[in-house]
Every structure is written in C-alpha cells, then in structure tokens.
Symmetry: C2
DNA sequence: CGTGGATTTGAGAGAAATCAAATCATGTGG
DNA sequence: CCACATGATTTGATTTCTCTCAAATCCACG
C-alpha cells in the first residue's frame, strides 16, 4: 500500500532529478499514511502549524490565499506525485490554504521522517529542495501570467502548462488530459471573473485551439495554444540536468 | 573585506533562522568576491547558466520576467543581506533576469563553495533552504497582490512589506526608509501603468498615509497603510521558530 | 423529473490602460 | 552660473478590457 503511494512520488521526482537505486529504495521506506479527501475539502488551513507533508497520490489539489474581504486567489494546481506543502517542512506555519480540488487520495508523511531522511541522504534532500525551487519558479511565471497577460493569454498559458506537467507524469493521452475544474475555479487561478473565463474559453474554442468535454481538455492545436499563451516550458525545469 | 560582505548575510539569515557560533564562523569563511554594478545593469540573464550566487551587500536588486512583446513584470525586490538567486544553486538555468535596481555592491559566491558547505553543515543547508522557501512565500503573496487587490491596495501592501523587511535588517529609521525606485518600476512590480502608479501615490499621500521625498518613503500612518493594503506579515516568516 | 450547481448570455459600469503633452528635477558643459 | 538635455513626475482626455449584476439555460444526479 505504501508502495503505491511512494510510486507516484518517485515518478514525479525522477522527472526533474537523477535518483539512484538507493535513493528510490529509501523513498519507498518512508512511512506514509493514506487518507481520502472529498472535493473542496480544506486539507490544511492558512495559519495552521503543519507536522506532516501531503503527497498527492490520486486527484488534484490547489493552494490558495484569500483577502480579508473574501476574494480568493488560487496560487498553484497540483497533480499526482507532487507534495504541495513540502515547504511546511521548514516553514511550519502555513501561509496559505491547501484544498482538495477533486476528491483525492493523499499520503501523509511526518516531518520527522522526512528530516531524518534528509540528514542521512543528502542527494534526496537536494532533490526535494530542488522540487521546492521548481515550485517557486512556477509561482514566478504565475505572477507574470496574472500581471501581464490578457485573459485569453492567461488561459492559454495555464492549459499549456498543465498539459506539459501532466504529460511528464504520464497523465495525458495524446493532447487530451483530465482536469476536473470549474470555470469559477479557473477564474480564481487567473484572477478573472467567472463570466470572463467563460468568454475566454469560447474564444479559444472558436479559434479551434481547444475542445472541452466535461473534465477532459483536448488541445486541438497545441502549438497554436502555446503561442497564444506565450508558453515556453523552460521555467518548469523538467530535465534533471538543467 | 570578505568579513563585511558576509556580515550582511549573517544578519539577514539570523532574522529567520537560529544560527550557532559555528554556523556563523563557517559562513564567514565562504569565499566571496566583491563586485560593483551600475543601476539598471543586468546581473544575470534569463536562460543563462549560473555558477555562482549573488549576495546583495549594498543597494537594491530585483528579479523580473518579460513577455515576448516586451512587457516586464518585476517579481521581487531584494535588499542587503539577501541572495536573490540562491535558487540557481539547484536550478542552474535562470528562468528570469536578475537586475540592479540601484548601483550596488554584490558578493559573488561560487556554487561549489556553497555545496561543499551544505554537505558538511546541515544546519546551514536547512537555513538556506528555508530562505528559498520564504522567498517562495513572498511570491505567493505577490500573486495575491497583483491578482486580487486594487491599485491603491497593491501599493500600500508593497510599501508595508518593504518597510517590514528593511526594518528586520536595520535599514529603517523610524517609519522612514530609503528605496530608490521610479514610478515606472513600481508599476512593473504591481502590474500597473506608470500613470496609474502616480495617481495611486497621490491618493495615499492625500490620505495622509505616506510622504515621499526623493528615494525616502515615510509611512506617516503605518497602521493605516497596512490596513489599506491588507498587510499581515505572517507570510514573511520573520521569526526563527515558526 | 425535480433540483442545485455549472455554464452561458446580455447589458451596463468601472478600474485602469493608453495616448499625448506639460511640468519638474537633475546633471552637464560651455 | 546659466542654457540645455535627459529622465521622472504629473495632468488631461479617451478607450478598453474586464467586472458586476441579472437572468436564462444546461446538465448530472438522486
């Protein structure tokens, strides 16, 4: 059981890091507690002290912050294999919420276990550090997206990014991927109103760039979509070398 | 000479981390090469491979990304004691520019030296990791700022944040701090046009919240400004414990 | 087959951008 | 010490993208 949980983790980390057999075996010995969450359930609250990290085994989660007047901004979307609150290992107090986008299966890993592992296996520690740095790189691109791109560009960029990240962990089939997210939530990601999200999607559909069937996004013209969103994947740091 | 460079570093890291005497002495042995940069000079380019990290000893630098059509978004402002490109230690290829906001003095630290130090002193490695995590936390708040706040709120928040960070390293006097930045650059930080920045500043001045004399910002009504900007410093993680 | 959430459509309002130009420093060289 | 160049700030007028408000439709599920 713990094996299947660590499987997604190893696969994800291997995308951006070179792990040797010993590293992988060590990761597989991590004590991971399986737990299910319902869609929209808050997993960890802003301000809360965290004592464990959450590995996404199945489903999607997101991180978000809200203003005092109740406006919500989604900061990142997370896919299987990722540890969205890995930062809590050294930043005990949460500065944002961690929320289940869909019903999902998480693997809870005690901080203690991770710290012990990092102390003994510097190569793994470096890989985890690197994961948090890629996380930060995606935040930087997110700032650019929200700050400097039009609604259509933002959406095109987000979809291009999600396709690329999902592909890296084998969660696409062709140019199609599953991402159960409402238009209101897309608006919270992109700092757009729900109404505008709807019109933006219509425009992308009208231009033959995408097709949406339920939770399935089909990038009919991937190159065109990436161009529209000014998408350049180098900020994802998807190869172990770079 | 290397002493004065590492001084700022030790002071800054000590704000958010508990360093013992041995840690401090180790940091002071780091080989650091002093180098001056002119205002607006690009220190490291997006796409470039970095082999050293830049410690800000004196002056200010910023990180930015640009869209293909030439729109610039400033991602972060950095003050003395910070290492704005610490991420390059594990993310060799830059995903953004590092630019001198003012003329400044940097201390260049070879990646090699940092990696050797991290391997031997896990406490320092954890502290540096934590610094990059705080960096990411500030990005998250930056996303919220740009995505969900009005122009006036964004400006109030940015000024509140800079005051708080500068205070932590002893670079304020009362409610006044020096930050030589143009209104166009403030616009690039906040995703606002220069014209709008100007009007926003007038509003804050008109409400008696701030006063600006050249590069000196005086927060006449700090509490009022923080309230206007919905500023809550917990995301800065300024105490070693949390 | 009703029900509530999600999507879609229409119309009007608003925050901020853009365009254009004036004013205000700041610093340089004659 | 002043004329001039350059960059920064300020002001005014207009435009535009996106939001808000409101309501209709669609759809999945019990």
């Amino acid at each position: 059981m713990a094996g299947t949980l660590s499987e997604a983790l190893v696969r994800k980390i291997s995308v951006s890091n070179r792990l040797d057999r010993a590293d992988i075996e060590t990761l597989q010995t991590l004590p991971i507690q399986r737990r299910e969450f319902r869609a929209r359930e808050i997993i960890v609250h802003d301000g809360q002290r965290a004592t464990q990290c959450c590995l996404v085994a199945e489903g999607f989660v997101f991180r978000s912050k809200s203003t005092p007047d109740g406006q919500r901004q989604i900061l990142s979307l997370h896919i299987p294999g990722e540890i969205p609150d890995l930062q809590s290992l050294h930043l005990g107090i949460m500065d944002h919420d961690l929320v289940a986008l869909t019903s999902c299966t998480l693997g809870l890993i005690p901080h203690e276990a991770l710290k012990r592992m990092n102390a003994v296996f510097p190569n793994i520690a470096a890989a985890l550090w690197r994961e948090t740095l890629i996380d930060a790189s995606i935040f930087r691109e997110w700032i650019l997206n929200v700050g400097r791109r039009t609604g259509v560009q933002r959406m095109a960029h987000l979809l291009s990014e999600m396709r690329r990240r999902l592909e890296a962990v084998g969660r696409t089939s062709g140019e199609t991927f599953r991402l159960p997210i409402t238009q209101a939530e897309l608006g919270d990601c992109l700092a757009l109103s729900t109404v505008h999200v709807n019109r933006v999607l219509q425009e992308l559909r009208g231009d033959g760039l995408i097709e949406i069937d339920r939770a399935a996004f089909n990038l009919l013209d991937r190159a065109g979509l990436e161009e529209r969103g000014q998408f350049d994947p180098h900020y994802l740091h998807l190869t172990p070398s770079a």
